[in-house]
Amino acid sequence: MSSSNGEYPDIPIKLNVNGRDYVVTVKPYERLIDVLRYKLGFTGVKEGCGRGECGSCLVIMDGKLVPSCLVLAVRANGSRITTIEGIAPEGKLHAIQKALLDVHAVQCGYCLPGVIVAVKYLLDRNPEPSDEEIMEVLDGCLCRCGTYPRFLKAVKLAIKYVREGKTYFDVKEAVEV
């Protein structure tokens, strides 16, 4: 992207994404989602609407849950960002990912990264959220396949896993169903 738009300056920014530092050059109008997906390759972050209305582009930025399509890249300079690719160490699944598999809450999968990041954010702040708190956070994640009833089941199962000390699972363990 943006190879020849000479009218606008090239601005270098520093980001820490999923634990690693990156330096990228951006145009002033580029969004964080563009940087994450196309410059850094984190295509787990999805674009569904570009207006902060669907929740598929959610990332955790400096401890807050934000829609990356509404954050200008320059504003993310110096930030720590976690995307779905970074919510669990390599070879492992976070409790919510495992729970989604266990309750069979996967259809087209496009909304899942947003849901997963939102739940990770929720459980990191409060490992025992109420139903109301769960609904509050997930309300903004649109799913057209209609997996909503299973999302709630999955979150409750993830809470149980975390309570039992199982915040992470081996990927191999997860798929032996």
């Binding site: 902060g52 849950l65 829609p67 954050v71 939102a118 509050e136 956070v137 903004g140």
Partner: protein, 243 residues
């Protein structure tokens, strides 16, 4: 286009000072909720604001200054602050001035703000302990939405008598938020009851002009405004009866 986010350090605050509650323009909806405004009984309207403000993830990037400055009728923060009789501090190189929120809007997305002025702060008088606030809206789905209409109310009760009341809506007839002055006047000094509120309906109808558009007919918006006004006032009464 200028990005002001780097001024967050200076312009994001919620504090009490000189009998006012002062909120910096870059305070997010999330910040409001996490401050004392999200915890005190008299400011429960800010909890309503937070819970109804679009999707959860917007609340950490949406700012009070942005909500006021956008000049859109469905600006929840502006409506609640209007019910708190708030004023806005506009600052430019040539100085600063205070403008009451209920005088700030002039037309569709048009503010009484010169191009060289910045919204720095919004403030309102710290309210008495026997008062509280509420903000209500409904839409065609139960999930995050803008609302058919938005109602915010401030109510101060002396026993069961309405000592003071302020009611703001997304629109009283103009394409920006406004207060229902005549309705407030009608209610002031009366006993708070469903009958009193029903009596206020016709007063509201006389000063509110609703439009019909593709989202809803005027009749519905008017009726809904009455219903939400009633619910907001009764909700505040409920809040005051608890600790």
């Amino acid at each position: 286009m200028l990005d002001l986010w780097s001024l967050r350090g200076e312009l994001a605050y919620v504090r009490r000072e000189d009998g006012f509650v002062k909120i910096g323009a870059l305070t997010t909806i999330d910040d409001l909720y996490n401050s004392f405004l999200g915890k005190e009984r008299k400011y429960l309207g800010f909890v309503d604001l937070y819970k109804g403000f679009g999707a959860y993830y917007l609340r950490s990037i949406a700012t009070v200054g942005g909500n006021i400055g956008a000049g859109h009728p469905l600006s929840d923060a502006a409506i609640l602050l209007m019910a708190l009789d708030a004023e806005v501090k506009l600052v430019s190189k040539s100085g600063e001035r205070m403008v009451k929120l209920n005088k700030l809007y002039r037309g569709k997305r048009e503010l009484d703000r010169r191009p060289d002025e910045l919204i720095m702060e919004v403030r309102f008088r710290d309210t008495p302990d026997n008062s509280s606030t509420a903000l209500l809206k409904i839409d065609r789905r139960h999930g995050h939405s803008m609302g058919y209409t938005v109602t915010a109310a401030y109510l101060e009760l002396d026993g069961n008598i309405i000592r003071d009341v302020r009611i703001a809506f997304d629109s009283m007839g103009e394409p920006y938020p406004g207060r229902a002055y005549k309705t407030e006047e009608y209610l002031r000094g009366r006993e708070l009851s469903e009958e009193t509120i029903h009596g206020a309906y016709s007063v509201l109808e006389s000063e509110m002009k609703r439009i019909s558009d593709y989202r809803a007919p005027a009749e519905y918006r008017l009726d809904l405004s009455k219903v939400l006004m009633k619910r907001a006032l009764l909700l505040i009464r409920d809040r005051l009866s608890k600790g």
